[in-house]
Amino acid sequence: MTKPAAPRKKRVHVVLVLAGALAIPADASAHLVNTGLGPIYDGVAHFAMSPEAILPIISLGIFAGLRGVVHARASVTSLPVAWVAFGLLGMLFGPVAISPAYESLPLLMLGGLAAADIRMPAWCTALLAVLLGAFEGYNFGAAYSATRDGLPAVIGSVGLVFVLIALASAAVLKAKWNWTRVAMRVVGSWTAASGMLLLGWGLR
């Protein structure tokens, strides 16, 4: 009758050990670019941890989505191409010493355009996408100028850039109700406001 107690004791020990192991605190390491999964995933992780690059892309997606499918297609195709091209240039020429205040300009401009829902031809949207891809892509590539594995990182990052711009613009394109379009414009307004504050901070 006492024999079944042994496996139960074992189970209790296993549960306790597992609970103890889970409860042991460890460093979060949330911002490590080196994931250990290879340079492509490092690039993906680097971009995913860069809100200053993510927010303007979302704003561009919102603006293009609000303007229609032609604008969305223009931004989805132009942005990744410019990102890779200028990312490679960034790898070649390295970082450029510019004021950090300039980081706020894409936020301010694209957020403002999304908030105002300004009408413009599709080639203007494509040009905006190229300018954004050039600025952010160059910065991204320049960060890898000192390492030898920059190209896979740029390719990894551009995959996520493509997914992000495609998802953002598609989500806005599919918005059926007026209030969802208004909500998207509010997001643009908030992004532009953050950019304005960031600019003040940079010039302070």
């Binding site: 609970a19 605190p25 509010v186 908030w190 953050s194 950019g195 504050l197 960031l198 003040g200």
Partner: protein, 199 residues
């Protein structure tokens, strides 16, 4: 039974205590802290809170397109005020302007004032500059700029949303009284702060 429990628990607790990392009690940095600090900044000043809610209340009371136009323009213009404050541009009478915004916006909701849309937008925009300036001038240089700005703007927008949600009651007779009473309360708080600013 009790001894067995102690035999199991004591090593477990001891292991946990020995595995504890460094305390890091003063680590107030990073993205999460920046967002939290920015988020708390507008909602910890009552004079700001009531004015932001009043913008939402008034927008809801005025109906379309003011219900969405005022909350879209306010954060942008407020950020411009914050920009001026961050650069240290001189602006006299900021506290009076902030308090006056509570009084006038509250009074507008209480009395159901319906000016033309551009007049309402200009009034709200002027007050937004005072609010933004007051916040911008107070921001400490050590903050994470992007995350702080995001938290700050999101909190402001959500305060407008609170006002809009309360303002949606305006479509019912009793809700109308509630919204107007909320406007009166905003005006009273604004009057208190105006008194303090002038004293």
């Amino acid at each position: 039974m009790r001894r067995a429990f102690i035999r199991h628990t004591v090593p477990f607790v001891t292991t946990l205590l020995l595995s504890a990392g460094a305390a890091e009690a003063h680590v107030d940095s990073g993205g999460a802290y920046g967002v939290a600090a920015g988020f708390l900044h507008p909602i910890t000043g009552l004079d700001h809170v009531v004015a932001m809610i009043a913008v939402g209340l008034w927008g809801a009371q005025l109906g379309k397109p003011a219900i969405w136009l005022l909350p879209i323009t306010f954060p942008l213009v407020m950020a411009f005020g914050g920009f001026l404050g961050l650069l240290g541009m001189p602006m006299p009478g900021v506290e009076i302007g902030v308090a006056l915004s509570g009084v006038l916006l509250g009074a507008a909701v209480l009395t159901e004032t319906r000016p033309p849309l551009f007049a309402a937008a200009i009034l709200v925009g002027v007050f937004a500059i005072f609010h933004g300036y007051a916040h911008g001038a107070e921001l400490s240089p050590g903050e994470n700029a992007l995350f702080f700005s995001l938290g700050f703007v999101i909190a402001t927008g959500l305060l407008h949303a609170v006002g809009i949600v309360i303002g949606l009651l305006y479509q019912w007779p009793r809700g109308k009284i509630t919204v107007r009473a909320a406007g009166g309360a905003v005006g009273a708080v604004g009057a208190f702060f105006l008194w303090s600013a002038l004293a």
